[in-house]
């Protein structure tokens, strides 16, 4: 079944199996492997991408559903060589270890700030709880998000 998507600003056409999730389309067909598969069941958040600016779990969403929509993945956040402020803050605050949940954390964090849910440490913690980090780098993730908020302000 044909789908047309705008992914990171680029128009993409693909013929997909109706069963293909947005995540598998990104990773297996388009080689956009920045979005991660950590559970494939909406239980870890590693696959978080932005669809029309909203964060969702791409593993639980069929690709065909998103025909004509705008998808932003971790590969689309930086402006050329210039890291997105959230990416830079994650590096600076060591907001990760293995890096596997990181693209999902960063996409989620960008949305979290935009939603207005990053006004305090506790609010960040709650609104970032859909992104598991088994390495346990959470305090650094909170610091990174606070820093990104401060620098944008």
């Amino acid at each position: 079944m044909p789908v047309r998507l705008k992914i990171n600003g680029k128009d993409i056409s693909a013929d997909v199996d109706t069963r293909t999730t947005l995540l598998d389309l990104l990773r297996e067909r388009l080689q956009l492997t920045g979005s991660k598969k950590g559970c494939d069941h909406g239980q870890c958040g590693a696959c978080t991408v932005l669809v029309n600016g909203r964060r969702i779990n791409s593993c639980l969403s069929l690709a065909v559903v998103h025909d004509g929509e705008e998808i932003t993945t971790i590969e689309g956040l930086a402006n050329g060589e210039q890291l997105h402020p959230m990416q830079a803050a994650f590096v600076e605050h060591d907001g990760f270890q293995c890096g596997y949940c990181t693209p999902g954390q960063i996409c989620s964090a960008v949305a979290c700030v935009k939603e207005g849910h990053a006004k305090s440490d506790d609010e960040i913690r709650e609104w970032m709880s859909g992104n598991l980090c088994r390495c346990g780098a959470y305090p650094n993730i909170v610091d990174a998000i606070k820093d990104a908020v401060a620098k944008n302000a």
Partner: protein
């Protein structure tokens, strides 16, 4: 996941006619539960009817002070933060925000959440040979298995699964009305009649008919619903299903309880409206002793199993706390 054809619905009528004519067709909304269950091989539709682009996302006041209508496709996150809900029905906003994660709430819809299926391990994983809900007649694996998350009220020997939703608990306390449209027309289903107890047919979760689509949920005008609270107890601080939850709405007048609406989550096959507790509160003074007595009345019929008996006491305390919190609101 079996192959299926995909249809994008152009209007609700078309959607209902597809599901009415093909018994193995399913409505696809947010997909957070359905796609998961399809990956597990529990749900095996041959056709999906995508309703995501139907204009059912409204959250608006009903005419003549009649409450608020929430479109069947309104996303959980949008409902939770909508001023009409936050101001008039805080218990619903709190319940929604206690559920799942921000990402899942951005996908999940009101209608889909109403139809969310149980998290019983034996249902969710077809590797387990026994589950009357998944395969009628196969038995209940949970009964003598690991049953920490299972029901203590309204269960049957056929099924001790629970409804996992937070939203449904708040809707039950708010006397919501589910608006559905079928091939033959529309009807309204009071929330109390929407979900079913397992009885001998645990495979049927709700009274929604095969050709029916949830178009909206109406919340009646409840002036005192501003005095409401949702309390969820879980194993970790966030992103976990409830062990027990309570939605409490209190009508207080001069310290006396003029009316109370209480529903429990995590304890039964449906959001459990605590009518015995409500009756026990009627006309009483709003204090902890009264609340405890009401909780005792509600849980008197509760039955626990090997791993979940703790829920009985936990539910009582949760009722007391939720009511106390509601009562203490300004």
């Amino acid at each position: 996941m079996n192959p299926f054809s995909y249809t994008r619905a152009v209007d609700p009528q078309q959607a209902t006619s597809v599901i009415g004519s093909n018994a193995s067709a399913k409505i696809l909304a947010g997909g957070t539960n359905l796609i998961d269950l399809m990956k597990m091989g529990v749900e095996r539709p041959t056709q999906l009817v995508d309703i995501n682009r139907l204009p059912l996302t409204q959250i608006e006041e009903l005419p003549n002070g009649g409450g608020v209508r929430i479109g069947g496709l309104a996303r959980n996150s949008d409902v939770a933060e909508h001023p009409l809900i936050v101001q008039r029905y805080p218990v619903l906003s709190q319940a929604l925000l206690a559920g799942a994660s921000p990402q899942l709430r951005n996908l999940a819809t009101t209608g889909g959440n109403l139809l969310q299926r149980t998290r019983c391990y034996y249902f969710y994983d077809p590797a387990f040979p026994q589950c009357n809900k998944r395969q009628p007649g196969s038995g209940c694996g949970a009964l003598n298995g690991f049953n920490r998350i299972h029901a203590i009220l309204g269960q049957s020997e056929q099924c001790i699964a629970t409804n996992p939703s937070d939203m449904n608990v708040a809707l039950a306390a708010l006397d919501a009305v589910v608006q559905v449209q079928g091939a033959k027309g529309a009807r309204s289903i009071p929330i109390g009649d929407f979900h079913r107890l397992p009885g001998d047919t645990p495979n049927i979760d709700t009274n929604l008919q095969a050709d029916e689509l949830i178009t909206a949920v109406d919340l009646p005008a409840i002036p005192f619903a501003t005095r409401s609270h949702y309390l969820k107890i879980r194993d970790r601080a966030s992103y976990a299903f409830a062990l027990v939850s309570v939605a409490a709405v209190l009508d207080l007048q001069n310290g006396k309880i003029n009316g109370a609406r209480i529903a429990l989550g995590g304890v039964a096959h449906k959001p459990w409206r605590a009518q015995k507790a409500e009756a026990a509160l009627q006309g009483q003074t709003a204090d902890e002793k009264t609340f405890r007595a009401a909780a005792e009345a509600e849980l008197a019929a509760a039955k626990g199993y090997k791993h979940n008996s703790f829920k009985i006491e936990l539910a009582k305390r949760a009722i007391v706390r939720a009511l106390s919190t509601a009562a203490a609101m300004a």
